[in-house]
Amino acid sequence: MPMDYVYPEYEVVRNLSRCINCRVCEQQCANQVHAFDPKTGQMTADDAKCVNCHRCVAMCPTHALKIVKSDHAFKENGNWSAQTITEVYRQASSGGVLLSSMGNPKQYPVYWDKLLINASQVTNPSIDPLREPMETKTFLGKKRVSIKRDAQGNITPNLPPQLELSMPMLFSAMSYGSISYNAHASLARAAQQLGIYYNTGEGGLHEDFYQYGKNTIVQVASGRFGVHKDYLEAGAAIEIKMGQGAKPGIGGHLPGAKIVGDISKTRMIPEGSDAISPAPHHDIYSIEDLRQLVYSLKEATEYQKPVIVKIAAVHNVAAIASGIARSGADIIAIDGFRGGTGAAPTRIRDNVGIPIELALAAVDARLREEGIRDEVSIIAGGSIRSSSDIVKAIALGADAVYIGTAALLALGCHLCRSCHGGKCNWGIATQRPELVKRLDPDVGAQRLVHLLSAWNNEIKEMMGGMGINSIEALRGNRLMLRGVGLTDKELEILGVLHAGE
């Protein structure tokens, strides 16, 4: 009906003097934007189908294509943006809940960009990381134990199980189903090469990837997809997913259309059946109940593996984290509201949760106040974009960070935020074999190794500049941070001084 016509957000601009009608764009676009018109002998484009993923632009051999934002405009309105107006049209037409992907794109404050890092000058020397030892190795797990000695006075090792990371980074949970086999293969191989960990997400573990178990964190979520003894044994650690930054308070729902082939086998549900992970674990209504799940997993794996509890950053995150630290969990993962997702209701993604910077600082401060900071390690996630974000996160109290969106970017994601459609032209957020094969796991793994190695070098540079040669000495070291353009309250929560103070 014409009333619902939404003018395309992007326009495909084709330079016809460069176009050679090779039809690569047509072959590459799963959204079927491009077509050849035999009457005119020219390529045409249906802008309405374009999600702006740049696949055609990147593959065009003559650089004849670009995608531009349409300048078609509604009458200017400070209150009713074009986005808001068209969302009303969409819902009036369909009656559906608006569904989006990837992280919150709205203009909320990014506190990483309002924090500045210190460096040494004159009175304490900086360190040259290229020529002096610089330690970014990180251990995650419970640290506080009473020292026990045997009759000879030798220390009896009784440290709870730890995860050893060559650098303070892990790949975030992304399920097989939400991302492709080749994307998982890339993450697994990169984690192994880097000496870090990737995370299965809640979709189980494909049998081909058991070989990467030492570098794998296996996730247990409310739907328990793919969870069984061998799976729990396969991983180096077990993560209980209580929440996700992109959609706090709601669960996961992989539509039946994506439950095909090996996804169905790995999740152990029939092809075409919806995979529903509800918001709550229906056996967890309290910290005591959480403790029960933590310990049932520990019992089932004979206390050999650290248990991570992942929560979304929400208003009372500090009190929740305090409870988790007392639940027997070894590690708390906090996911900020800019964290990515394969699909989330738009309104939830854009309006629920709080920034990771504030949540992290509040949790670290609360656990230290209560004297239980050593009971758990903290992993912060939810839009870590660069090595400087990592340095700031560690100075705010994180032991390590989860990297999700940046890892996908390294694999070719162009952040078109259309994962929910399942037609990812880059072979990442799709299960279509012809698209999945576009992502070569060898290349993918190499690019992930490149990215994280580069970040690790940058972290060392910044540490050296501060005169710090061990990542341990940076953890919670808020003196290394100053805020700019922040209110007193924001500075108080972050626990940092303003620049100039």
Binding site: L99, G223, P270, S296, E299
Partner: protein, 240 residues
Amino acid sequence: MKLQAGERYFQELNEQIRQCKDTHIEIKNCLGQRYIGAGLSDKDIVIHGTPGNALGAYLNGGRITVYGNAQDATGDTLNEGEIIIHGSAGDAAGYAMRGGKILIQGDAGYRTGIHMKAYEQKIPAIVIGGCAGSFLGEYQAGGNIVVLGLNCPEDKAPVGYFCATGMHGGKIFLRSRVLPDLPEQVVSHVATPEDMREVLPLIDDYCRQFGTDKNAVLDYNFFVLRANTKNPYKQLYTYN
């Protein structure tokens, strides 16, 4: 091997069970110790008393028999093997079961068999002799749940509120003359001979284990509940 549970801490008791070389283990005087049999695959454990929460969680084979009642989360994410309870079970028994069997002689609490799933030859089953609490088979995606309603009032269904909410696979068999209120996506019919052939081995098992008269159990009306769609929430979303 025989073990006295008494007031022993669960970690110590469970460690002893794991280390035990015997296949057959008998636990006497169980007083609420949690996680008994968690993740085990090759034991035949007999428990006298009351095991605590998460009995046989992630069980991967073997058998656990309880002479007494079981508490919450019995057989959480059970993969293979069976749990037989000569008594009643608390809440959330068989949460996300993916194989194996749980037989409960008496009643079961809330949320029994939620998230049960099945895949190819792995079809989990729960048989409840008495009545089940609310949210029976919530989000059920596969497997069979049988409620016999023995010794329950005959004028109402032997289940609580919100039976089969979010169910999108599997079957629930209710031995009852009355249907409970059901959500829109669940359809029911009186069991056909073919349905009964499917459920008969489970009823056989139940009657054999607990010495119940099979003919008396079978001489009654059975309803079968099924989901009418594998995608109950398909129309809910609009791509944005």
